[in-house]
């Protein structure tokens, strides 16, 4: 009997009788790889690929970040990346798809960063391609659940307001022209019935805000608003029962307008938060759990406190915990913003998302899943989208406003009680409380802020909160990082020896620094296989060291524009790189200086390079050779002088500076971790959004001040009229929308103001 011929499936390595592919999936995967001219994958991979299978993720539901011109970006996790060749083949295959602009896969973190033109391809197609190769893409943490309740309340309130107003117009007309009693009664009762859900359900956010404020012993804008609404509704019930005119039309209109302001404001902030989350959220990864003597791989969300995890070099931690065994160097930039890896030993605490750069650990889980620090940070970011911000100006006015209203209502009521008796006194008191209801004042800030956030977003700057806009208005010093901010952040290798490049690319392949990317990219372009490096240790701001081919190497900054490779016997060679200025950098700097702010270039690079780049961009003040900590110190010193500092940077190195500045803005193309500490994100490729943000801040600040003044003038004069006993429901119905219209008009001009200034 003949032994049947056996051969391994060329793709997945499964032994197959008679040779050839084991399945059509492998055959197709190989066809894709060979069709793209990537056969080298099969020679360089360290172990056979997994058999391709269909994933279960509905990729059309996964959020992506969309920018101008059809450019769409998404970050996702990819499982099954066992070696550099896998990374290489995924990147190259994706790049052959028409419409894909960039496919960066990080071997260290298992994350893929994709950029494509949404007119030419889409995420499901790209993920299907990755799955066809035998790798498993996973979405990162899903975007926060949207809270639609404000919009629902607005819909009901707006519907009711329009109908009640229609009925009110009829009633007012009947007042002058005469109307049969039966119709008057019908219209009044219908108005009350319609206004009831508005005064109770739709106005609920204001009651809740007022109550929360009272409990926290803060009088904020929701309190006088709630007071006005409650008084109007109570008066409405009494008036309908006793056959008087009610303020129900004013009530419903007011609630609808205020909810409209809230919805606009919420929308503006949510867009920024979701953009930041989509870029920065940390994925629940898999982890290796140790049970007795066995080690099993489990999903991170299956972990429980008390579990023991095994963590290897280059792996991210899946949970917060305490080190039980082992030593190593851990980079916790995601959480602390610290660039330098920290040496850890048993007993030290480590957090989920931290990257083990060196060593091997066993970690006892303390908090897992949604309880981890990084998940709570992300959740805080998500919930910030639904929390209304109350900018300082209206907040400062609110307590005085409330107090003044109550005092005036009491004094006015008492005066009328003495002069004209109880019924008239009640009417005047109600009228004062009604017209004092600060509808315009409450709208003054949110509308302008929402318009400002929208204006900044349309120009490419996504801000996390309206408060940031207000701080931007005061900024007088703009500090720019060099690499990745003033420059495109993608230096290009212009000169290097193949052998040097090979070692360098091995050392740099786990690093996310732009220089590392350039080195690895150049090596791949020359088809130099990335060698395996061991004991790789990154020294932030200095260089990187490690072992390749069993020998020790060091890659450090050499002469300007060069990195030098040192071997065991000394200097081996150099790689020359060139950093190119962003196309719009000079124009953006000119624009910033035109706004009267001081522009400073803070760079960790050599003085010669920094000065050259600074001169090209038109920056006068250049501070070179500042490390990550020195940047933060420099900013702190400026703030101590009373300056308001805006820092624009990218990358892990900038974490402390981003957090330390009055406003920290991260470049969207930078390291994901920086986005968690930043107040804003530049979502497009360029620097001009920063200048647009400053302009938006100033216009908004001016508009809010104007709006507050206008509404205070209105409220003061309206209360005067009410004290004089002139205000009745018809007068209120004319006065209140007029004041709100003034404020809304101011907000509508914000975008035009940003465009003009």
């Amino acid at each position: 009997m003949n032994e049947p011929a056996v051969a391994a499936c060329p793709h997945c390595g499964t032994i197959v009788e008679g040779g050839g592919y084991c399945c059509t999936g492998c055959e197709m995967a190989a066809a894709i790889i060979q069709g793209a001219g990537l056969d080298r994958y099969y020679q360089t991979r360290e172990k056979p690929a997994a058999r391709p299978g269909k994933g279960r993720t509905d990729w059309s539901q996964v959020p992506v970040t969309e920018a101008e011109g059809g450019r769409t970006t998404c970050e996702l996790a990819v499982d099954g990346l066992d070696c550099a060749a896998c990374v290489w083949v995924v990147e190259r295959v994706l790049e052959t798809v028409p419409g894909v602009e960039r496919a960066n896969v990080s071997y260290a973190t298992g994350r893929a960063r994709l950029a494509w033109n949404r007119n030419r391809t889409n995420l499901p197609a790209l993920c299907a391609k990755v799955e066809a190769l035998g790798f498993r893409p996973r979405p990162l943490t899903a975007a926060p659940q949207r809270d639609h309740s404000l919009l629902l309340r607005l819909g009901v309130a707006a519907f009711v307001a329009m109908n009640v107003m229609l009925l009110a117009v009829s009633l007012y007309a009947g007042w002058f022209a005469g109307m049969e009693e039966a119709y008057v009664t019908l219209f009044r009762w219908t108005s009350l019935a319609l206004a009831t859900p508005v005064a109770t359900w739709a106005a609920w956010p204001f009651y809740r805000g007022a109550w929360n404020g009272l409990r926290a012993r803060v009088l904020h804008m929701d309190l006088p608003v709630s007071l006005g609404v409650v008084v109007m509704y109570a008066h409405g019930v009494w008036a309908t029962l006793s056959g008087h005119e009610a303020y129900l039309d004013s009530l419903t209109m007011l609630v609808a307008l205020l909810l409209g302001g809230r919805v606009l404001e919420q929308g503006g902030r949510r867009r920024a938060v979701e953009a930041a989350l989509a870029l920065a959220s940390s994925a629940p990864r898999s982890a290796r759990r140790v049970t007795g003597t066995t080690v099993e791989t489990v999903r991170a969300d299956e972990l429980r406190p008390g579990d023991l995890l095994e963590v290897g070099m280059g792996e991210e931690l899946a949970a917060d915990g305490v080190i039980a065994e082992g030593r190593g160097a851990v980079r916790m930039a995601l959480v602390t913003g610290e660039a330098e890896p920290r040496a850890v030993a048993p007993g030290d605490r480590v957090v989920a998302g931290a990257l083990l750069e060196d060593g091997a650990l066993r970690v006892r889980v303390e908090r897992a899943g949604a309880d981890t620090l990084v998940e709570r940070l992300a959740a805080g970011l998500a919930s910030a989208a639904d929390r209304p911000t109350l900018p300082a100006l209206t907040d400062r006015v609110a307590p005085w406003f409330t107090a003044a209203t109550l005092v005036l209502a009491t004094v006015g009521g008492l005066a009328w009680l003495v002069l004209a008796g109880a019924p008239a006194a009640l009417q005047v008191t109600v009228a004062i409380l009604v017209v004092a209801c600060p509808c315009a004042l409450a709208l003054a800030s949110p509308l302008a802020v929402a318009a400002g956030l929208g204006a900044a977003a349309r120009r490419g700057l996504l801000l996390r909160s309206g408060d940031t806009l207000r701080v931007l208005a005061r900024v007088d010093t703009v500090v720019l990082d060099k690499t990745g901010t003033l420059t495109a952040g993608e230096p290009v290798v212009v000169e290097a020896d193949d052998a040097v490049l090979r070692i360098a690319s091995g050392l740099e392949r786990q690093s996310v620094h732009p220089i590392a990317r350039a080195v690895v990219a150049e090596a791949a372009r020359r088809r130099i296989p990335l060698p395996l490096a061991e004991d790789v240790r990154e020294e932030a701001g200095v260089g990187i060291r490690g072992r390749v081919d069993g020998r020790a190497w060091r890659l450090v900054r050499g002469r300007p524009g060069e990195i030098a490779l040192w071997g065991e016997d000394g200097h081996v060679g150099a790689i020359r790189l060139r950093d190119v200025l962003r196309p719009d950098a000079a124009e953006a700097v000119k624009e910033l200086r035109g706004l009267g702010v001081e522009v400073v270039l803070l760079s960790g690079d050599h003085a010669e390079v920094a000065t050259r780049i600074g001169a090209e961009a038109g920056v006068v003040e250049v501070v070179a050779e500042t490390g990550p900590a020195a940047k933060a110190e420099w900013i702190a010193a400026r703030r101590a002088e009373g300056r308001t500092v805006l820092f624009v940077g990218d990358g892990i190195n900038d974490g402390p500076a981003l957090a330390g500045a009055d406003v920290g803005v991260a470049m969207g193309s930078g390291a994901a971790s920086s986005l968690l500490v930043a107040d804003g994100v530049v979502a497009v490729d360029g620097l001009k959004p920063v200048a647009a943000g400053l302009r938006a801040g100033r216009v908004v600040e001016r508009t809010v001040r104007g709006n507050v003044l206008r509404s205070l003038v209105y409220n003061t004069s309206a209360v005067g009229l009410a004290l004089a006993g002139i205000v009745n429901p018809l007068v209120a119905a004319l006065l209140m929308p007029a004041s709100s219209a003034l404020v809304i008009g101011g907000a509508l001009r914000v975008d035009a103001g940003v465009a003009r200034s």
Binding site: E66, G70, N119, R120, R146, H148, L151, L152, G155, V156, F159, N163, E180, Y183, L186, T190, L194, G267, R271
Partner: protein, 45 residues
């Protein structure tokens, strides 16, 4: 004129139907992204 007694509830009921449709649409996320769809309409391919 007494038709008002009949027509007013009918009109409000009709309006109410549209409010319900709006609530449903809002809950399904129809109004979540108001920026990109109008831009996409203008793109050819």
């Amino acid at each position: 004129m007494s038709a008002v007694f009949f027509l007013l509830p009918v009109a409000l009921g009709l309006g109410g139907v549209f409010v319900l449709l709006f609530l449903r649409a809002a809950q399904k996320g129809q109004f979540d992204d108001l920026d990109d769809p109008p831009r996409r309409v203008l793109e050819d391919d």
